[in-house]
Structures are given as C-alpha cells and as structure tokens.
C-alpha cells in the first residue's frame, strides 16, 4: 500500500512553494545596508611570476574604497587542506601554501591577484582594468604525464610535481603482481576519467559583514557545510574565534561537491568587511566559476584484470595519475586515495587488489570532489575493464558479473572496507527486466533497418556513503571527524523544531527529515520544522556531501528523538501514575499497557514546560535533546544500470534511447525525492560520458570557460529514465536502515553508457574510447576502423 505520510511516503516538498514563487533566499539575493562590492583581478596566465604590480590608478578610480593585494594578507594563513595523505615511503604529502591572493607567482588561469572593493560591482570591475600588472610567463605544467616526468615545477617544494605517491594496500603488491603474471587471461585497459566542472546553476557568492559594536563577523556563503567553513576559516586562515564568527548558508542553488570547500573569496570578504568596515559582497559570474570553482575527476589510469579459464577474477591492479591542480583544495588528497582505492573491489569478490596513485600538481584550477568523488573513477575503471574482459573471452557481460558477484554479507574486501549488505543479483535481475533485455535484439534489428547501430550497456556500482566513522577516517588522514549533529526541540504545545548540521541545497531535507521525525513521534509532518544552514542556530555539524545527510544526519535526529521519547515516557508515567516500564508510546499517545489510560503527546509536552504536576526531583523540565551520531561504518548503496544507445555511423552522433536504473539504497524515506536524486545523477553521468569535458590548451588556457564551450546536458540530450528502488537491502548499522542516494546516478551511468556505445561499435572492433563520446571522436573511430570492418 502506498504510504501517504511519514517514512515511505512521497510527501510533496514543503520548500517548493518559496522556490516556485520567487521567494527563495540565495546569497546573491541578500543586500546589507552600506554594502560594497568586490571584483577579483585574476590571472590570465597559467604560470607566471609577478614582476610588478601598481594599483594606484585603480585606487583613484571612481567609487573605489580599497584595493587589496597579497601585502594586505601578511600574517594571514593560507587556505588549509583538510586531509593528510602519507605516501608509500611514509612521508607526508607535499602541501604548498595556497594564499588568498597570489604571492609572487600565479599558478593557474583564474588565480586571484588583486581585489578591488568599490561602491558598485561595475565600479570595482572598471577599476580592476586600471591595475598595472606585469607577469613574466613561465612554462606551464598542464599534461599530468609530462608534469611528473620533469615538467615545469608548479611548486618548488614538490619535485616532479608529486603531491604524493601512494600504494594501497602496500602489502598486496607482490601477490597481485604474481597473480597477474600467472593468470590464464589478463585484460588490460588504459583510460582517462575526464575533467569536469560541477556547475551548480547558482554561481558561488559570499557576503561578509563586521559589526564593531560587538566584534562580530558574519559570512553568508554558498556552502554545503557552514560549520566546516567557520572552523577552517576561523581557526586556520583568519584567526577568528568561533563565537565571534557566524557563517550562514541560506538557500543554496546546488553544490554537487563544489560548494564543500573553503574558498579564498569567503575569507576575503570576511577579512575585508572589517578592514573597510562595510559589508562586502562577491558574486561569481559563470566565466569566473569555471576558473575558480574546484573541478572534478581528471584521472589517467591503467588497469589490469586477471582471470582464470572460467572467468573468475583473480587479481586487479591499477595505476593512476590524479590531478590536484595548482593548489590542494579542502578534500582533494583523499579523493583518489581513500574514496577511490577502497572501492576497487566493486561488486566482485576479486581476492587480490593493488593500486598505485600519484597525485600531481599542474597549472590548472584545483581539483576536488564532484558528485561521487573517487567512487565514479573506481566504478568506471572496474566496469569498463570487466566489460572489455567479457568481450575478450566471449562471455555475456551480465554472466561474467554474476560469476564474480559478492553474495555473502558482511563482506570484508581486500581493500579495507567491509560491506554490510547488498544483493547484486537482485538489482541485476531487476534492471534487465525493466530495461527489457529480452527485447533488445528486436530493437537492434529495427535500428539497423534505419541505418543505426544500437548498443546495450550494463554497469554495476558500489559506493561508500554515509561518510564516515571518525576514528577510521582519522587513521586515514582526515583532520576532522565526520559525525553529524542534531538538536530536536519540542515546543510547549507539541510542535517540533529540528536543528540539523546537514545542509540542503536541493535534496529536500526540510521535507524528508520532517517525515522521519513525524513518523517516529506519531505526529503530523506539518508540526515539524527543520532548521539548517546557520552556525548561530544549529549545533556544530559537518554538512552535506558523500550522500551522508539521511544516513548520518538523519541518524543524529533519530537519536535525539529517541532521547525525547525516553524522557517523555517518564513524564507520562508521572502523569498517569504508572510505572515507566508500563508506558507504551504509539501513534502520538502514551498509554499504560493493558489499560485504556493514556495521555496525548501534546499534554506531555505542555507538562514538560509548565511543570506544575511534574517529577521535578527526578527530571528537568523542558523537552529538548542534542545528539552527535558517529557512524559505525560507511553505508554501501549499490545498483545496476542499463543504457541503450543508437549511434549514427555517418555522423558519429550517439543518442541515448533509454536508461534504466535499479538501485539498492536500503530503506527509502521519500521515494519521489530519491527518484529525483537518481534522475539528476544520471544526467550528470550521461553528461560526463557524452559531452562534458574541461579542455586546457598546452599553455594552460582554459578553453571551456563558458556554456558555449562546456557542453551541459540539455533536456533534448536526455531520455526519460526508468528508475526502480524495489530491490533493497536495509543498511544494518544505522537506525533508519538507509544508505544514501545522492551520488549513485553519477557513479553508475558513465560506464553503462560507454559500454553501450562500444557494444554498438562492436562490428568495427573498437575496444575502447575515452569520454566524452562526442560525435567527432566516435566518427573518427568508426572511420579509422572502416577498412578493417569492410575487409572481414
């Protein structure tokens, strides 16, 4: 039966009305009295030495309040990195300083050099053109392979541009080498995971304000995690104590990872607001976003999969170059290591796995997590090599997967993590059914009759979400814990306000979290309000990324609700003159078991705040609880995706004909929202596979810095999707049994699509193509293969 309220119901989103009527409050919608504007003069060179810098003309320009350069930030910290990787020699990674404004050198196109604060944005921009800047161009490290082979040095302290050289698990290396040497068959694949830009539709913005009356700083910023920004910026950059710094992330227009990090512009407006004693606002334009938002992916890999004669996987070995860009962004070092290496088992019981990852500095924008972060890279590598292996040994790709699936849980992988639950055969069966695999050959023939090549592509994925157990990530180099916090405040008349450290920037937490609380308390969803995004209101929280909000943030809420119920039972026992052990709480009512005596939720709440008849000697008045939930393990969502494409051999154009997803997210609180998350992830993954890609030329110019050059998927590029969540196995270690759904679509879809295109191109014997599969790339491959195909 379809539920209409609480957990499992597709409740309509309460946040929608404000967004649909133009009443959303995004950072750029805010204006403070006396506000000034900043414009950043950014490097148009990938690598250069600042020879001279004269800002006097800019200072004299109309409306200019102050012009800032690196000199103004002497004594101020650089932008910190939140994760320390220890390399294979036991050495800490190289961690060069990331200044707020360039100090002596610029290291990527977009690196900010000068900041002009003026009365209006236009005046700040106009004045920036008057800055006299002489840059001496230096050779740039752009291609990673060249950068690590004696290319130009991005940072003096990082020889060969190596940030770290990491082996994992180091002790498996010899055994893996030997298994590969002796295997019956080894499939080898070299591939690239293309560099992407997250591109939330709301560009970043930051507004700083300083109140000298009480020495209070406020930063409004487009962030997925305001407390993390407060901690990083306050403690490590500006030296501001937390109680004098408030960070607010109001409505935020999408993030996909790119709004996790602490950015220089946030520190700048906070700092400058005090210096000029005016609120200072910055809003990125799109071109600026392309050259200052952290980019994603950008791995170059080689993978080898060893099999026995029956197609059982024996060992997997990969080597990866991972681009860090010019500076280390907040989470950057952990993406190709702990969020990538630990997922290399995929859905398979490969007994031996080894990877080497070298992280490389280049003269490009910093690279960090983008939807999936490390897990899409791992999934792509595995699912491509498995598909290639199936083709090489002449086995059905679905059968080869089945043969190697993990089927017993919990399952300890050879790459450190333990999967708690899953049923990979069930998601595979489901996806083959909803994608109508049985009807594929008929569809292929129909396409062929129209001169088109049809392909069927399958991919599985596993991801580690619900990030993350603090003691584990601490041991792996994280400089923070990854719990989540929640305060549940019951109001005197029984309505509930929830203060969560999670942050919603499209995920619909205001609806979903209310469903959870209402369900557990047996009250109306409308009686529950969710507050998030303001460090002056919510307890210290770690924010939203890594599909963690419901699994970790939701669990913190549940913990608080459970404490509330426990206390309320005591109050009810007093009111009912019964023993606490006999009190049952159900459907918003406390009753004495085995009797018809009961007291309603609202009466107990009122008694807690008007404690006239109340056990004051035993319990305090009030009904409010705060909890910090630190997960026992990651969660492991998994699923199977099928993509069907048509390739036009005359133009190379790939059309996605259908896309079906069968996901296991554990229990689902709001199916409508979960399906929406999958849709969005699929679009981003299809975008990566088909059209998106960041291009730098040899000199380090970013050629794709607008929507004219960076292809964003449009409605006409995509089909409607078929999404199924029915093959679900609950998470075993959090109270809701949930796993997280935000990233899955972007993780599983690129290999499914590429596998489909290569299936379509199989008559031409094309074994691999790198993403994005643009018409020109596909056509060139077909054209090069034509003579061979014709000769057969």
């Amino acid at each position: 039966m379809t539920k209409i309220t609480g957990i499992g119901a597709s409740s309509k989103r309460r946040e929608d009305k404000r967004f649909l009527t133009g009443k959303g409050r995004y950072v750029d919608d805010m204006n403070r009295p006396g506000q000034a504007h900043v414009h950043f003069l950014r490097s148009d060179m990938a690598h250069g030495r600042i020879v001279s810098l004269d800002v006097s003309a800019a200072e004299a320009a109309p409306g200019v309040i102050k012009v800032f350069t690196a000199k103004d930030f002497e004594g101020v910290g650089g932008i910190p990195c939140g994760w320390l990787i220890t390399d294979r020699h036991g050495q800490p990674m190289k961690e060069p300083k990331h200044p707020i404004l360039a100090e002596g050198k610029v290291r990527h196109v977009g690196d900010p050099i000068v900041a002009v604060v003026a009365e209006t944005r236009a005046q700040a921009k106009d004045a920036a053109e008057l800055v006299e800047l002489e840059l001496e161009e230096l050779p740039a490290a752009i291609d990673m392979r060249a950068a690590v082979a004696g290319g130009p040095q991005v940072h003096d302290e990082a020889p060969d541009n190596l940030c770290y050289d990491w082996d994992f698990p180091a002790e498996s290396k010899d055994a893996v080498d030997e298994a590969i040497r002796n295997a019956h068959h080894v499939t080898v694949l070299e591939l690239r995971n293309n560099r992407l830009v997250a591109n939330p539709m709301e560009p970043r913005a930051a507004l700083g304000e300083y109140d000298d009356a009480d020495d209070m700083h406020t930063l409004w910023t487009t962030s997925q995690n305001p407390h993390v920004i407060r901690l990083l910026m306050g403690a490590f950059v500006l030296g501001l104590p937390e109680h004098k710094l408030r960070v607010v992330a109001p409505d935020v227009g999408g993030g996909f990872g790119s709004k996790i990090y602490h950015y220089a512009e946030e520190a700048f407006v906070t700092f400058a607001a005090k210096v000029v004693n005016r609120p200072v606002k910055w809003t990125s334009d799109r071109a600026e976003a392309f050259m200052s938002d952290a980019h994603g992916r950008d791995h170059v890999c080689k993978v080898e999969l060893a099999m026995d004669a029956e197609g059982h996987f024996l060992a997997l070995r990969s080597t990866t170059l991972a681009n860090m860009g010019a500076y280390l962004s907040t989470f950057a070092p952990c993406i190709p290591t702990w969020l990538h290496g630990t997922l290399l088992a995929g859905n398979y019981k490969t007994p031996l796995i080894f990877t080497n990852v070298r992280a490389v500095f280049t003269n490009t924008v910093p690279v960090d997590a983008y939807r999936g972060a490390g897990r899409p890279e791992a999934t792509y590598l595995i699912e491509r090599v498995v598909d290639k292996a199936a083709r090489e040994i002449g086995m059905d790709p679905a059968e080869l997967r089945r043969r190697n699936f993990i089927t017993q849980f919990p399952y300890q992988t050879p790459v450190a993590v333990e999967y708690d639950s899953g049923d990979y055969n069930a998601t595979l069966d489901k996806v083959l059914q909803v994608a109508d695999r049985a009807g594929f050959e008929a569809r292929r023939a129909e396409s062929a009759a129209r001169g088109k090549l049809r392909g069927f592509g399958l991919a599985h994925y596993i991801e580690a979400c619900g990030i993350a157990p603090s003691s584990l990530v601490g041991a792996l180099g994280a400089r923070a814990g990854l719990y989540e916090a929640a305060t549940v405040r019951v109001n005197p008349t029984g309505s509930v306000s929830v203060f969560t450290g999670s942050h919603s920037h499209g995920q619909g937490h205001e609806t979903t979290f209310a469903q959870v609380v209402a369900d557990r308390l047996g009250i109306e969803e409308g009686a529950v309000d969710i507050v998030h995004g303001d460090t002056s209101k919510v307890p210290f929280g770690m924010g939203t990324y890594g599909s963690r909000s419901l699994a970790v943030g939701g669990s913190a809420i549940v913990k608080s609700v459970d404490k509330i119920v426990a206390k309320a039972k005591k109050i009810a026992a007093h009111l009912l003159e019964a023993s606490e052990a006999d009190i049952a709480f159900e459907d918003g009512k406390f009753s004495v078991s085995g009797t018809d005596r009961s007291v309603a939720w609202a009466e107990v709440c009122l008694a807690a705040y008007v404690p006239h008849n109340y056990p004051l000697d035993a319990i305090e008045p009030g009904l409010e609880e705060t909890s910090f939930y630190d997960p026992a393990n990651f969660t492991y969502p998994s699923g199977a995706y099928v993509c069907e494409v048509e390739v036009d051999p005359d133009t190379g154009k790939v059309q996605v004909m259908s896309f079906a997803a069968a996901d296991d997210f554990g229990n689902v609180v709001n199916p409508m929202i979960v399906e929406g998350q999958v849709h969005g992830g699929l679009a981003q993954g299809i975008g990566q596979a088909l059209m998106e890609g960041c291009v730098y030329d040899e000199s380090g110019q970013l050629l794709t810095a607008s929507y004219m050059d960076y292809a964003m998927p449009l409605a006409r590029d995509l089909p409607s999707f078929t999404v199924d969540n029915s093959a679900c196995t609950p998470c075993t270690h959090n109270p809701l049994g949930v796993k997280g759904c935000g990233e899955a679509g972007a993780i599983g879809s690129p290999p499914a699509l590429v596998n489909a295109v290569l299936d379509a191109l199989s008559p031409y014997g094309i074994a691999h193509l790198d993403m994005p599969l643009t018409p020109s790339k596909v056509w060139e491959a077909i054209d090069a293969a034509r003579p061979a195909a014709a000769a057969e």
């Binding site: 309509k12 649909l20 539709m201 996909f256 399906e675 964003m712 449009l714 409605a715 679509g745």
Partner: protein, 161 residues
Amino acid sequence: MPGISMTVNGKPVSGEVEGRTLLVQFLREDLGLTGTHVGCDTSQCGACTVLVNGESVKACTMLAATADGAQVRTIEGEAKGGAMSVVQAAFQEHHGLQCGFCTPGMVMSITDLLRVNAEPSEAQVREWLKGNICRCTGYHNIVKAALAAAAELRAQPVAAE
C-alpha cells in the same frame, strides 16, 4: 542616466538606469525582484527568463532601457491570491525542482510554451527547453510537470478575461 518606466507584474514601476544596465539587473537590484536569477554570462542558462509583452525573454539579453514601456511578468507575479499557477503547482506535484535556482526561469519558459502550444509532445517540451539549463533534475520531472500542466490547462474551462 535615462529614466525608464514599465509595468511589472501589473504594477507600474520606474527608475533611472545606466545605459548598460540589463533588464535582469533592474529587476533584481532596483526592484528587489530576486526571483529572477542569473546563472551565466553568455545567455544560455535561462535562469533569468521572464515574459516581456507576453513572450519569454532572457532578461540578461535585454537592456533595461529596451524594456521601457513594456509589460513584464516575473515569477513573483505568477501566484494569484496565494494560489500558485497551474504550471507552478505542476512543478510541485511532479517534483520538477530541487535546488530551485533554475526553477523561476523554467516556470516562465514553460508558461510561454503552453501559450504557443497547448498540447506539446515530450519531444517538443525537451526541444523548447534548449535555452534552459537545470543541473539538478535531469529534466525528467520538469518534462513531466510541463506535460501535466498542459493537460490541466486543456481541461480547464476557458476563463473569461
């Protein structure tokens, strides 16, 4: 600075703008109508879509001075007496929005589509939206909302204007 006046959401407004001021800046900064968004600087994302004299226009491609004398409708004018328009309501019903940033532009664009084509096919909706980018929804539910709104509008008795 030239003085301009226009009708926005049925109300007469006027102001003084620089020649280079865009309509979207005038709406957001001078009139405080921040429901119209700016998502790009190359006229591609459609977050700024409004109706000018009944037709959808990207407010970042039009100078405020060019809209002098025009009838402008923004997202703030779509709900009447607290009730959302058919298109707005369909977006909520079918989960056609997530972060909400592209949403005002999407609603205005689809409102215009349904004016020119009362019975669009899915392919026509997808083609019409070539000037509106959404990064959150994968368009699936936006298309669904548009088709549902079209059906709903067709089923309504023609209102006397």
